[in-house]
Amino acid sequence: MHADDDVEHQIRAELSRVVESARSRRSLRERTEGGDDDATRRQLSELGILDAMLPDGPGLAGGGLRHVLAAVEEAAVGLVAPDLLVSTLALWTGLAAQPRPGELRQILLGPTAVAWPGVLAGAESVRQADRSVTGRLGYVPAGLSAQHLVLVLPDASGAVVCLVTLDNARREALPVLDLSRPAAVLELRSAHTRELGCLSPAELTRLRAAWLVAIAADCLGGMRAAHDAAVGYARQRIAFGRSIGSFQAVRHRCADMFVDVETTRAVVRGAIDAVDEGGEDVDALALAAASHAMEVFSRVAESSILVHGALGFTYECDAHFYLRRSYSNAAATGGVDRLRAELAIG
């Protein structure tokens, strides 16, 4: 059973404060045009979120995934810290490969992008030769500013994890669906790489589970916000002399969204614990969490737009930023169907 510990509680509270303060300064529309402002960046870096994952002795004795994913979830509530999810994946992947401390520092300096052909779309053409990689990465979140890229390259005996230097990469900003998470196209021509380590098939499975759960946590944060906004609007918007939240069609829509959020919360937290504690059912839990979270995030975001009427169809309302995130999250991981098929058949 997952129970909030004090650290997790504190991380959530601190991130909520960052989100609240970002919201008070600039609208989401402004933030998606210019990214987080300096104050938000400073607050986030002072929190040292990623440090929660670091080993403070031999082995992984840090907070594990749970603490950093609490931060990922809360950041997604306000769609702040666009690079936090990928930086988390990069660091977690790096740690799994047990690199030397210097290499770890480079990942931590961030933002560090990630790529894993077959797991995250857009990296299928990447090829490794000697100490370099070549290929085109069609969709790299954080790719415009990242110094490094953590690359997982599956091979016959599992996978190698490499750290790719992006000094000479050709980068092009990509017009993206998810406006709150900028991305780039990267062209790598014999980019210098360092091998961080090799992963066995079992380690790879656990790593993949962590990636899926991280994306599910991002979905959970987004759907919480979309739901809260819908309930708030349903309370306040008047039609026919009453609050629209008093019409059964709207009430039920909001209640359906609640079920979606609570079921997701349960399965995501269960999956995080399984990853942290190395449970045997980690793979199934992660696939269930990710496929459920992706599907219902889209549904909740769609509902939230509808509760807002025509306003929800415009940039005057934040609802569509969450819909964009939801559609994008589901697509980037190859779609819900693929995860479900894997859950049933393996």
């Binding site: 998810d178 026919f240 709207v250 025509a310 697509a331």
Partner: protein, 379 residues
Amino acid sequence: MTGEPAALRAEAAAWLREHAPRFAADGPAPLSPFEVVDEARERELVELARRWQRHKFEAGWGALSLPTTLGGRGLSRADDVMFTDEESRYHVPTHVLEVTTRMVLPTLVHWSPEKRTSIEGIISGREVWCQLFSEPDAGSDLAALRTRATRQRDGTWTVTGQKVWTSWAHLAQRGYLLARTGADGHGGLTAFELDMAAPGVSIRRIRQMTGASTFNEVFLDQVSLPVDAPIGPVGQGWAVAMTTLMNERLAVGADQIPYDELRAEAARRGRLHQPDVAAGLGAIRARRIVLEQLRQQMVQSVRRGGDPGPEGSAAKLFLAESVLEAARFARWLIGPDIVVDDRWSQFALAWPGIKNAGGTDEVQKTIIANRILGLPKEG
């Protein structure tokens, strides 16, 4: 002249085959009305639409259902629908004139046939209209609108208020305005004709979630309207508006479901013959066919002299859900490529526009439950 419907359809199809291609916009047909276009292109499309309307009018296809005294052919509204169905096979840019020709025109003809210049302005393609109904605090509950028109001593009117979600206001010469001239509620409303260039009218464009901007906020500050501005009798605005909304339901067209484009995209990706892809496409094609038949039924009842009636709500609901289904299928088909902002991701985001325009799902369902099923009203 009243032709036999099938013969008229064949005649229309033959005429369109010869003339429509010359007025087709270049480039691929948009996947939804909310695809992003830049301003220069938008102006081009409006001009093309107006020239096309003029061309139809001169050839006798511009206003089939209008009485001959008003420049029409005295046919049924059903024949208009037949013609627009045939017309929708071509990529002629009619959608900027949809409010003008399919909603404002029949309203004017029904309630104010004496407004000959305005009617002539529409059928000849000279003027674009917009429909100023919704307000920030009056959407589904249209009768709550507060924009006020006050009659002056000399019989002219002064209007002050705010409208919102006004499609094409930024392109329109004339506005069809619903304003309050009397007490609260349905009884205190009057419809007006408005010159959009009049002093006191200002427009702010609103950005839609696809990135397009087809509707606007319209501010009316002490705008003066002439004595003959009302459409229909003063105080009858609600009835006038209902005529418009009835006609809006007739405008529900299957062409908003881009089946051909989805099929072409599946073929382009080499996936047309995968069973799940084909089944998905088949489901969308079936919805198009169902919708066409539903419309035929409404058209039949119009031909027999009835109104489109609340059955139109079923068509509107089914259309909006079909567009959402098509958008879901597109996301599924396109897969990871949808993360990039392009015409397909814009299509994936366009469905809420169709869900809201012309009344939300909830409102349509309430009409069905109240007016067709006669169920007790919600307390």
